[in-house]
Amino acid sequence: MLKYLLEKEFKQIFRNAFLLRMLIIMPLMTIVLFPYVTNQEVRNLKLSVVDHDHSVFSSRLIRKADASAYFQLVSVSSYAQALGEVESGDADIILEIPRDFERDMQRGEPGQVMLSANSVDGTRGALGSQYLSSIIADFGTELREEAGITASPQLRLSATYRFNPTLDYKIFMIPGLIVVLLTLLCCALTALNIVGEKEAGTIEQINVTPVPKSLFILGKLLPNWIIGLFALTFGMTFAWAIHGLVPAGSLLTILLFAGCYILAASGMGMVISNYSSTMQQAMFVMFFFLIILLLTSGLFTPIASMPGWMQACTVVNPLKYLAEVMRLVYLKGSGTGEMLPQLFALCAFAVVFNVWAVVSYRKSL
């Protein structure tokens, strides 16, 4: 009996030009465009300088800041003007160098500077002022070195980045975006599938047959699983072809985990579909849950920075597990053995959602 149900689903899929187009366009969009967009790195901060000193030191400091990758000098003006620029959004941070900056330092007294950072975006403000502070500290060291004063507390810092030495944001984002892709596609397709049959009325003809509920759900699940695997393949291929990104770990590991995840996501979509009476409703309910799940998955923001209760809530977020797995496999090359908890979690989600989908599918009202 399953054979006939599968035949039907596959025929419907292959005749749906819109769906097939989505299957190509969605991976392309997410993998090609998104990595450029989802860069959270703070750079190109617009620096406005208020120089009351007009000395050699002050202009050297200004040039030093401008030369850094983090800042881009937009103007040198008065404080009022600079503040105006911050207010209109033309400047992010103000460096104010008071009169006698050079004279004080040459007399052996500390020079004074003031930073004012627009911190409406807290991270941006804090990081910007940190960057500028270290540039200023460097400038002091530079001056001391020139003066030949080396018998001083000298601290040299060096940072080494593991797994992603050049801090390429794409390498981090793409494995996560593959998760987004699988979620959107698998969840949306199944969420709209059963409710689509309800709207078309075809579900009536099915419900009046003796087809077991589990077989009907399985007939929907399997084709969707294959679509999901196709999307995964497309996504990974685009990541390789366009960004040159290949997983450090094994493809089979990815296949295993993603396979479980696709089942879970499809099951979730079917549960939503079973409880909805119109496609519009299904779409909204899905949107509602997906927004919450996506935001709390650790894909865009670190889970470690969330408050304790929220971290506890993410235990029931299937996206979280696949996001972890994809990044571990892509960047660190971890194997299945190191990710058993994630595997169990994903299997559990797959079982729970699909059993729920069978139970919540009502052949009789």
Partner: protein
Amino acid sequence: MEEKVIWADGLTKSFGAFTAVDHISFEVRRGEIFGFLGANGAGKTTAMRMLCGLSLPTSGRGEVAGFDIATQQEEVKKHIGYMSQKFSLYEDLKVWENLRLFGGIYGLKSRAIREKTDEILSDLGFESERNTFVRALPLGWKQKLAFSVSIFHEPKVVFLDEPTGGVDPMTRRQFWELIYRAADKGITVFVTTHYMDEAEYCDRVSIMVDGKIEALDSPRALREQFRAENMDDVFQQLARKAKRTSD
């Protein structure tokens, strides 16, 4: 001794305070063509859905093909065919694919399905439409196809919910020929309609008003009982009592 294929006793379905079907009781014999009449909103479809196992009765009992409609719905479903009021075959599948799908669901073997498909298509004069997408068929043809699907697995009973709605008189006549042919094969036909001329084609009819069965007998007996020229008169006399308005 005539076999009772369908019987209902005090069958009731309520949605909240609204009682759509109100204690209906009747019997349908094997091979009979049973007309289930009533105005829009009288409760015909709801009653039929209960008999098909699509809807659980609020109270009362009923059996179809020897199985309880409240507890053995999946068993009931094995022995019935159903054609819903709204066309419900897959529009994005071809004619033969729809037949194959439903044949398969009812457990027919691939080979049996192929033979049966050929037979049905030639009966209907549909050979040339075998590979046509269902969405491209005219309404009358769609309904004939839907009927064929509903009796494809040779069920004991077939439930037809307003099978001839919206088609021309010619097609309606052809459709009734199909119904007779099915009845000849021993399939019991349970059909709702609001075309009163069609009521005359039935062996027996029941007339539902406001969720209750107000009359049940052969068309001729009913005409005599109500001293009416035709079934339409009978129906008008009963329908006048209705308090419910249709939507």
